[in-house]
Symmetry: C2
Subunit: 459 residues, 2 copies
Amino acid sequence: MAPGTNTSINRDQLGALITAGDGSALREFLEKLSTEERVYTILRLGREDIRKLFILLKPDYAAELMKEMPEPEMTGVVRSMPVADAAQIIDEMRSDRQADVLSGLDRNTTEAILNQMMSREVKMTRFLLSYPEDTAGGLMGVEYLNYNEHKTVLDVLLDLRQNGVRYSDYEVQYAYITGDDGTLCGVLKMRDLLFAAEDTRIDTLMLKKPVFVNATMPLDELSRFFDDHGFLGVPVVDGQGRLVGVIRRTAVKEASAKQANRIFLKLSGIVGGEELRSMPFFTRSGRRLGFLTMNIGLNLISASVVAVFQGTLEKWIALAIFLPIISDMSGCSGNQAVAVSIRELTLGLIKGGEFLRVLLKEAAVGLLNGIALGTFLGLVAWVWQGSAILGAVIGCALATNNLVAVCVGGLLPLFAKAIKLDPALVSGPLLTTITDMFGFFLALGSATMVLHYWPGLVK
Amino acid sequence: MAPGTNTSINRDQLGALITAGDGSALREFLEKLSTEERVYTILRLGREDIRKLFILLKPDYAAELMKEMPEPEMTGVVRSMPVADAAQIIDEMRSDRQADVLSGLDRNTTEAILNQMMSREVKMTRFLLSYPEDTAGGLMGVEYLNYNEHKTVLDVLLDLRQNGVRYSDYEVQYAYITGDDGTLCGVLKMRDLLFAAEDTRIDTLMLKKPVFVNATMPLDELSRFFDDHGFLGVPVVDGQGRLVGVIRRTAVKEASAKQANRIFLKLSGIVGGEELRSMPFFTRSGRRLGFLTMNIGLNLISASVVAVFQGTLEKWIALAIFLPIISDMSGCSGNQAVAVSIRELTLGLIKGGEFLRVLLKEAAVGLLNGIALGTFLGLVAWVWQGSAILGAVIGCALATNNLVAVCVGGLLPLFAKAIKLDPALVSGPLLTTITDMFGFFLALGSATMVLHYWPGLVK
């Protein structure tokens, strides 16, 4: 039966083929599906079957198939495979993808796989793994044409003829020309070779003073660089000006998309990389629980403020209705400011030390919106509970706490960055704790004062 | 004085040049700055000065400079300009960028600008604006080479010579060949023209059955398409197979990054597009307040549950300490599930109707983590307040509510999508309201039962 669009039938057929253990039949079946249906069907198999599937396929097709899979699934499969099989598959990938897959594994597994890979590849992959992920070094590829400046047109043509197979997945519109010490000194348009005499030295043909980026250039600058320039790729050099790789425009744009997703997941409390529902149950629940445990701890700290004022609450129970509202609303306002700061940091629109600018910009918004929200909630409390003083206490607490929340929310990502913490990870939980404590203190503290000085106002 | 890296000095100099009103001096000054410093300095000017700056510059350089600016700022500047100036600048942009800028404006402004633009450009831009943003039609460009299949090599060469200037910012490695009715019938590698006789018909040189995508193909499929294929661009056809544009790999990857950022901003309560602190104050505070007002309304609904149980709270005040914790923790857990669902929807890993699969996957995680968190909070409540029954009430309420929150959080984005609401926008506020109401009801309802049946247990 031909594969159709009914996933559960496809999954059963794929399962049967895996049990039969016939690699070429599997490939034939998978190739008939659309990419979407293929990924979808594979992810509906159990982890064990997915592992078997990739071992049964020939390494080159397995590598191709992995390219289609979401990254966390790909890493999961590689992790669960025998090292020898994993090494064979990774050997078939481009160097930047190898680094992607391996950087998701723990150190020991990475080492074990690298040890089984073919020697030429390993050196390159190790080299790429040595650069931080979101820099030019971490994003560049090492599949490019590179010739010494003293070579002639004939040398290049012979090399191309000899190594044509190996170069087949390179982008070969340009070759990068280096001096004897490896420093980048020019870029050669390959089509210029066609019109030149065979004994011409390539340094007379190349474009001198080529545009390049440093291996340490961070993602936000790279992104702006490619917004600015039309290049599809540029050479990457190390601190000594030596050519170490080529970074493609697409790699940068892809990394920006990944970064945005990581930020959104972290802010939502999904920590440790992407979670997909096809991942193993204990990985999913365990990673989520880690974040929740930190939060429950922080929540207990802010609840202790309520406990301190238990006597006040006992005398004035209506306050208890409004405490969760103050907590929730201040969290909302603060999170808006966190999001704006994280975006401005990502876009490079804000520099590390600009605390004052952020503070002033946020204070203005926080004050205006705080007054609006506080007045509204105060009036509601007054009318609903029939107590003007309750309205005043709740309204003032929300207004003030909104101002505090917005300022704290705007500044936290900057502080986090300054002390080298991940702004997306720590800003949310810290914000909630600070604003909860402060909000509870404001509401219950002022209520306590009212009860002390004007007990007659509280009915 | 030469521009340096001191932003406030640069800003003052730029401001002085704007007041002087000399367009070429301005350009000279700006070109000396690095891109980063240039954007940064311009954004530190007042909105009025930015507007003047872009009017003073020649339209072609103004268009180039706008490319470097963050999108919301660019839209803001265009909106505040005289229509004639805006039209001149937009005329200098590529068609896909024109559509980007104009789609950020209201209908009337867009029409006014289009009416002042040059006729050839307008038709194309109007055409691009007719496709939804995150589809192949909305992301494609219309700058490509297109020839009728009956043309000869000579026809093409003459056209290239004649229109060389206009084609200068096209990607000209390929030309797209269409039949008399406009249907795509082939792709021509431009370099194949070099080796062919001048009277050869191009339909004998072209690659037949070219790969293409439909104008309606959504972003997630496009993203997978380019993950799968090495192409830098592919032709886009309409429902009748007619060539309507060419979509570039970079445009797709850029759109993915933008989409991820929009999701993260919406989930954080930044609604209506990106907010940057250089934007006008009332735009910033107004948009934030809109989201907050909706939230305070929803919060009052959940607070009404607490109000119903005011009598219970009065008799058992310790409960008030734990209500904000239950509310906050259930929100945390639910948001994790929301994030996973939104990611799976974006990646196309989940189909609209798969409610049951999500429910089962989430229920398992919610149950396990709920038991863990409930047990922990229950024990803390017992030890802290010295009341085992308080621990039992709070612990059970959190455990149950965690299960509910995780299931609701996982399903909400799917429901939102099914009824054509934006999952990133509505899931968060609805989740909080549902889980707060349910959590308060569980804790206070069971406390009421305890007080009714075993009043002796509560000291």
